[in-house]
Amino acid sequence: MKFKFIAPSFRGKKNVWLIVSFLLPLSFLFVFFFYPLINIIRFAFFGSNGFSLKSFLAVLSDSYTLRVLAFTFKESFLSAAITLLIALPGAYIISHFRFKGRDTLVSLATIPFILPSVLVALGFIILFGRSGMVNTFLIKILHFHHPVNLLYSFWGIILVHVFYNFPIPLRIIGASWDGLPKKYSFAAQSLGASNLEVFFKVTLPLLLPSVISSFTLVFMFCFLSFVIILVIGGAKFATLEVSIYTYYNMFFDFKTGSALALIQAAFTLLFVYVYMKTGSFAEKSEEKREIYEYKSLFENRKSFIFSTIYLIFVFPVIFLPLIVIFASSFTNPVTSEFTLNNFIDLFSGKFTYITSIGIYRVILNSIFFALFATALSTIFAVMISYSVKKLSKLKDFLVALLMLPIAISPVTIAFSYILTFRNTPVINSWLIIASAHTVIAFPFALKTLYPSVERMPRSLVYAAQSLGMNRLKTFFAVDLNLLRLPIIVSSIFVFAISLGEFGATFMLYKNKYITMPVALYRFISGRHFGIASAMGAVLSLMALLIFFLIDKFRKEVSVI
């Protein structure tokens, strides 16, 4: 029905490519996203007697649901607020000073997107867990009698979330602060405002869009937190995301699961909306600044001491989980001595009974899904960008519609697949996981590639055509060359997202298709921390490689 509107502007023989490049991704998204999503709505509202709000309202007013909702909001709010407070000094430092390592600090903002959350959980367990490094230190050196519970608590969850997410506001607010025209604070000063008054009356109001936008983004990430809650929260704590999983996995309750998924989606949609609105506002204020306006860290003592303390504290903390994972992977969990056994055990298949398939197969699965999702989402994003670009009226609406998967949680997507495909062979095949990864990754590819396609100077295409090239040849000779960098960056980014994907895979996997994060989760659940560290080290290495690759292209293309 939608297509009827669009068809006229695609008329003509030449546009057959455009129609194909529009319909192909759309039909994929229809089968693997929109239709399953509709099924969730159906399960939530339609019973054997047709439409009814009764069961939905029952779920909504259930005391367990309310508890879960309250916890999810409380946990997300505190995580986001503390994250913001910790990031603010960093945002000040990166926007006012120029120093070695500043660019690295800025690019760390990609970490929360590309570092698998299960790795972060592992890092914190190794560090703060009952038999973790801190407790070992307390017992062996300070002669404590019992390990101290530092991690498995409400504040443990907040701690991990804060660590995981603080590079995001650091980058978003820092960039906006950097781009803040100085004239406003000058104007305030000339009207008699002191430095403190300038900060509260001018700087803060001008930074507000970026503060709200980064707060919303972090809030949403914590709102959708899954594996960190599973691992650290245990049975005591559940976010909406965890309870959707629980209702399906433990009670096989599709109706309640659907209702919870819809409640969650309503909130995440709101968050995405706020993020996009304030985000575009924040970008508007960016302005080029003269280089002499930046100070050196050494210019005065106060700023030097403040910044140094902050940086010394912050830099190691970001890499801490990775460092402890590497350290622990070469340590015997019992004797604390150096050993290669963790890796030998991992690769010799000693623990295959936990993963049910060989470790090489696990790694291959992960790489296969990531490659599949990368290829498909990138190609689809390019196709959609080209075909949508031509539409004048529905363009914005269509792009928003196709970005929708970003607002639907991985567990919900997986859950909708189960509702939709549970009686078909698809549910047991590799395709189901591969499709979930593609759907999850697609909005990120579209967000990176669509602006590049839209901005592409048409004159170059016309120039090539006037020199005798047909449009298809022009596409390969001109367009793809211009799009090379955005495609590379988007591909690496999307690859990382798929590689670290946990929620959807965890809901959908069959033993044959187990991935690295799921295997890692199983090792952690079985408390095999030595081998978990070895596996974590392999995954960390991949994530680090991806981080440095993206960082290389960071100046040219922005992924977040």
Binding site: F186, S190, L191, G192, Y292
Partner: protein, 308 residues
């Protein structure tokens, strides 16, 4: 009476060095004129106190203010693009300085209404800066700066981003404003027309140093350096008997009774007047005359002319 005294004020950025001395008198409209990179904005930022100098002194009303922070100087600033706070409405923009001074709110209200009346912006008070025109912004910016009664008003290329038509109107407004309020104004610009139109005196700045300080007429008629001659208007330089004469194009008069002869190389028609390029025994000379006087002349004609 000296309102502002700038004494050997220095500031270095890489290869660039600003080093200036001059005075500004009470109620004077003084322009700092110079090409981009000449140090105009740096000078303004130093006087306002947004940056501090490497050496030198700034005196206001005889008092050394070199190390006084910007918010204690009582020097008003109108910025390029006006820098109205986008998240505050016009009323709150104007009230900003009064609120910082913690004046009682009914007094603030009275003062804002009063000044808004004077600048004819009373009906804009509850609009936001994004929704008012460039001309209105200038008046709001002036009102915001003036309501706290500054000793001196600094203006940083306020007209540079506006189109030609509105610019002319605002220039007149600015001149009237200065006459009405009788405040000392220092106006930074790269545009000679603006400087000529507005100023009592012009400080011509070149590459960080003062090139010449004089009234607009003096600067035009009697530029002291090559830079001043090149920067202000057009100038013929003619060498006769080993002596160099500087003659403005409008002082080259094409007429049949002329003493000198030459050949027309080109005629460039501009609005209302034309420039005639003449090749002569002492090189190329440019004459400028009204269009009506140029009628009938064409390229290749032999002409006679006088130098006034």
């Amino acid at each position: 009476m000296k309102k502002l005294d700038i004494s050997r004020l220095c500031k270095k950025y890489g290869n660039f060095e600003l080093d200036v001395s001059f005075s500004v008198y009470e109620k004077e409209f003084i322009s700092i004129l110079g090409p981009s990179g000449s140090g105009k904005s740096t000078l303004l930022h130093l006087i306002a106190g947004f940056i501090s100098p490497d050496s030198g002194k700034i005196f206001k009303d005889g008092a050394d203010i070199t190390n006084l922070p910007a918010n204690k100087r009582n020097i008003g600033v109108v910025f390029q693009d006006y820098a109205l706070f986008p998240y505050l409405n016009v009323f709150s923009n104007i009230a900003f300085g009064l609120r910082v001074k913690k004046e009682p709110s009914d007094l603030i209200k009275r003062k804002v209404y009063e000044i808004a009346e004077r600048f004819d912006i009373a009906d804009l008070l509850y609009k936001y800066p994004d929704y008012i025109s460039g001309g209105e912004k200038q008046r709001v910016a002036l009102a915001r700066a003036m309501v706290v009664k500054p000793d001196i008003l600094l203006m940083d290329e306020p007209l540079s981003s506006l189109d030609a038509k509105i610019r002319e109107k605002l220039l007149k407004e600015l001149r009237d404003f200065h006459r009405q309020f009788g405040i000392t104004i220092m106006y930074v610009t790269h545009d000679q027309t603006e400087a000529m139109f507005l100023s009592d005196r012009i400080v011509l700045l070149n590459n960080g140093g003062v090139d010449q300080i004089s009234t607009p007429l003096e600067l035009y008629e009697n530029p002291k350096t090559d830079f001043a001659r090149r920067f202000i208007g057009k100038m013929n330089s003619i060498t006769v008997n080993g002596k160099t004469l500087y003659i403005r194009p409008e002082n080259v008069i094409v007429r049949n009774s002329g003493k000198f002869t030459g050949k027309i190389e080109d005629i460039i028609y501009l609005t209302g007047f034309a420039e005639i390029e003449i090749s002569t025994e002492f090189g190329r000379v440019i004459a400028r005359d009204f269009l009506r006087n140029v009628k009938g002349l064409k390229k290749g004609d032999a002409v006679k002319f006088d130098l006034l």
